[in-house]
Symmetry: D2
Subunit: 346 residues, 4 copies
């Protein structure tokens, strides 16, 4: 059994992670950390854990946890993980960071977009970007894993085959993404209160969201080019799900069917990527699962390809992918414990 601890277990992503881990056949949860709820039973915070576990939230000491855990999951605000992870820790336990601190390879870009100092920039080289479909072999050997962001997972998987094959002009990319409200975390802000979110849609952080450089980094690697793209996130009145509309201008001639074949080839061995053919992805079909659904259309009138990706932001966009990464890091079948069928309508 893999001994797993989690620091930051009572946010939405942490809670989703616990739900998976408590039913994972190869995992034993040894510590649930939560700064805000130290001493309180998890089941008093999230009533769905009634009769599931009597675990009590702890003030996590990463050093102590490293001694008794095989893997530590971090689900923390940015800037905190980079203070806690050290080579010593990594020599004792594997780290899977659901936050942003180890995702960007260039520390200047990190500090520029996040506005905080990075406290362990020397570890960035070792950290592996945990998008399983792109970096599986590196992930298997990783000690420090940077779990990708939710928008980024969906955007990169949607566009990867086009960049890898040089099919589109890198300067033409626009990603217009929509997220459910769990993406904002468990909030006590009036802005995220029921009556303010319900029955409305808005864009936010237009052209300034922090997932932008993360998408650029990975698509740039695939396309072997520096690129800048426009990224716009939206808040949608629903709990879960991300839908990413990706627009790019063709760089060489192609039919829609040729492009579809590019995707089929690129993802032919990927369990958690599903290509839709006759219909476009909708977030309801991936909710609660670890799938990324992808569909595309060629707009011949404008020579643009439009790719649509859909994920569950807390699953493939956070906790599900974290466990997929853990599975790989510990030599398990990558779908162990996360092979859920979407529950509908839920």
């Amino acid at each position: 059994m893999i001994k797993a601890s989690i620091i930051g277990g009572t946010g939405y992503a942490g809670q989703e992670l616990l739900r998976i881990l408590y039913r994972h056949p190869e995992v034993e949860v040894v510590s649930v950390g939560s700064k805000s709820f130290v001493g309180q039973p998890l089941k008093d915070i999230y009533r769905n854990y009634n009769k599931i576990t009597d675990a009590v939230c702890e003030a996590s000491d990463i050093q102590e946890l490293a001694e008794k855990s095989d893997v530590i999951f971090l689900a923390l605000p940015h800037g905190i993980a980079s203070k806690q992870v050290t080579p010593e820790i990594l020599s004792q336990a594997k780290i899977i960071d659901l936050g942003a601190d180890y995702r960007l390879k260039d520390v200047d870009i990190y500090e520029d977009w996040y506005g905080v100092e990075h406290h362990s920039a020397d570890l960035l080289k070792e950290a592996v970007y945990g998008l399983c479909e792109l970096h599986r072999e590196d992930i298997k050997k990783a000690r420090l894993l940077a779990n990708p962001g939710c928008y980024t997972t969906c955007s990169i998987l949607s566009l990867a085959p086009l960049l890898a094959g040089g099919w589109v002009d890198p300067a033409s990319i626009i990603v217009d993404a929509k997220s459910g409200t769990t993406g904002a975390g468990r909030s006590s802000s009036t802005a995220f209160s029921y009556c303010e979110v319900n029955e409305s849609i808005k864009a936010y952080k237009v052209a300034s969201h922090r997932h932008t450089p993360e998408i650029e980094q990975e698509l740039g690697l695939l396309g072997n080019t520096d690129l800048k793209l426009t990224f716009t996130p939206h808040l949608v009145p629903m709990n879960r799900g991300i839908l990413a509309l990706c627009y790019a201008t063709l760089a060489k001639e192609a039919t829609e069917e040729e492009l579809r074949q590019v995707y089929r080839d690129f993802y032919k061995d990927e369990y958690f990527v599903r290509l839709t053919e006759d219909v476009m992805p909708e977030t309801k079909w991936v909710k609660g699962s670890n799938y990324c659904d992808i569909g595309l259309t060629l707009d011949q009138r404008t020579n643009r390809v439009i790719v649509i990706g859909a994920i569950d932001n807390l699953m493939k966009g956070a906790a599900g992918q974290a466990v997929q990464n853990m599975n790989l890091m510990f030599g398990l079948d990558e779908k162990t414990g996360i092979d859920f069928i979407t529950d509908f309508p839920v």
Copy 2:
């Protein structure tokens, strides 16, 4: 492996049942029946089945299915099952009927409330009412199982300890129940279209809903009395969940704590019943799980006990309970394949 077939697999309850069965460790699905979608792959109707199964919907012949199945689940409109089930069928396969045809022991009450003739009234005596917490031993031996209705499951479990112990006046019972919209089935009626249901609440079939006599039958058995109660269902703008507010006047003196102890004793061995102590049940904590959460308050000013029950109408109220029954009927641990933790927020 239990060979399972389903007739009526593309309604919401049927679909939920399939989701469970396709991941159940002891079940093999041998046939998915759907009158409306004969010849169509399940995954084209419900896109969440993409990459899960290539099953194609069939026009079900119950005789044929009985020969190749150990159990047949029926998820049909009322009046149809009673035409299909025969002693011959029952000699070949077990039947779990998610519909209403075999729930009421008194055929006159059935025909009166449902307005249709019952075609196999002689089987009513054999049929077992599949509320596991009340009839577990009979269920283990059943060949024909009547899976309870959603409102009824929640209402009966909420009130059972009070009736069994003679704590309340049977003539005083009022159940004010609220349901998510999946309770109406997969509908193409304008009345259930998004814009008509969203942002509104209404009561419907006030004092005339068909689940009334079912609740009366089971509570009457427990209280060893004939009783009539008032039952009011509501449509709530959410997908899933039932919340039942049960009001009854005390028949003998009791403190709130004594009443709580009555419930603890009554349900002490029940895995799928959870008693809440300091808070009242909310549907979000049971969604996607097979739990029934129950809480109570004594209104000392009026001498009324108020019991609140919460279930997921498609799980404990339909498909989850059907599998719980199947597990018992086939000698399995009753929680096999349905021991889900509620996913939150979903």
Copy 3:
């Protein structure tokens, strides 16, 4: 033109009131008070006021306001109004209090249920309970008006004809009420965040909600009796609307049609009460309007009458009724400026 000021103008009820007053043909808004937003333009807090008004929120001094206003609306947490209103204020301006401080005639009951001291109990005798349909003549002469609570308005209007006519047993009354989330006010509590409220229903303050004694006071007056009832409020995942299910046992024989006629007679001159005949009220049909829709059924099996009332909690349950009261207090047609048709679907 009536010069109107408002203290507490940036809560949901205050904001709704402003929306009405800024379009009321006989009103000029002279001051918008908001402790939380002093110095900020209303239109920066509520963007719907962009281009409507440049009013800036003020720290209200009730003495100053009394000098320049004909009427002052108070939309404040309980316990604050009773400190501010004095006979001197009342000699200068009429007061319409949307809060609870002047609703209960018995100061002990107030202090018991609200847990705070009442600072101007001597004014309780003068204060008029502003349920127009019951106290119209007193309202016309009132200087200090206590605007009823949302649940109470709906519950009292639903049950009034039965109590006035002695049709039901006063000891048998149960009100099971459901409210949209605006009823909780503009909140920054996690409990009212989008993801926590969405897709779930719960009861709260079961048998202990502060609107209980208010309903009992008014129904007791109508029935000329002391009465205690059971009142249960629920939180529903929608923005607006209250649906009250009222149960009571008949005290004398009556047919459903006779009871309907009782309601027709009782409300025959009431513009803002609408009786439904063939269907039951739904909150969507009253949203944004000042109507109270009422329907009833006689459950002959149990001898109970079930009355259903529906209002918009911010309109007839708060701001709309406050303006209806103001109209009466200033000799205007009571529907002036609030005669809205429900917008659907909204």
Copy 4:
């Protein structure tokens, strides 16, 4: 008083139109037409009309209506209006068509995108495209008015100043638009049932929606160029509102502030256009009103301007704009009867 008739009064747009007309100070409704509900009182179909009107739905004969009406509103599926309107009709009554039949000036484009024959193509030259902010003077003189589509109104108003000033490359335009579910009309399709729409987002008719040529026609006129753009609509789980994200590459150098000034100048006299400065538009702030809110950002990293427009699809996107047009056509102040403040939260 303007005598107004409506053909197609029981769809969502028709119903919204009636709500406005029944409170419009200069209008008398003389006929409510509805093919589906002939002989039924409007208040039995939409219960919000209870006590508002006793109007009964009629099978409309446009010739008869022309004789007794000053204006006839058509709210019909495409292809029907073009069969009914004739020069004779236009000589008797003004026509405001909320449908698509007279919006496109080029009959070939109409027949190509709509797949039906146009039966009165000779009237296309006379028909005025009723986007008040662009064609006010023509509207004042119009007999046949083509009321713009919902997506188109929002998209064109958002981009008009950029095209008119030659600020962007016409070939670079992408509009990613999101709509509430009322945009689909009053539907009895399973695809628009509550449980299928709720808690999910999807794009539809990607690169093939019929509003595309309408946007191209008007932006082409403004930019004095033929242009083709990419337009993607989405279905959002909310009742009302359109949010249009418009992306375009700058054709000449500009700062964000310069672009804002372009918008201020362009819309300086427009009552129903509101520019947001420090925040971006959200649909909740325009719901129930006739406003179009517009905000913009310059993404300097990619040289793209991002303009966001928000409207209520049934108001400025349909019924509100229709009445704005009627007001202009009859010499009234254009905001008469439609000067609503957004009700919040509703």
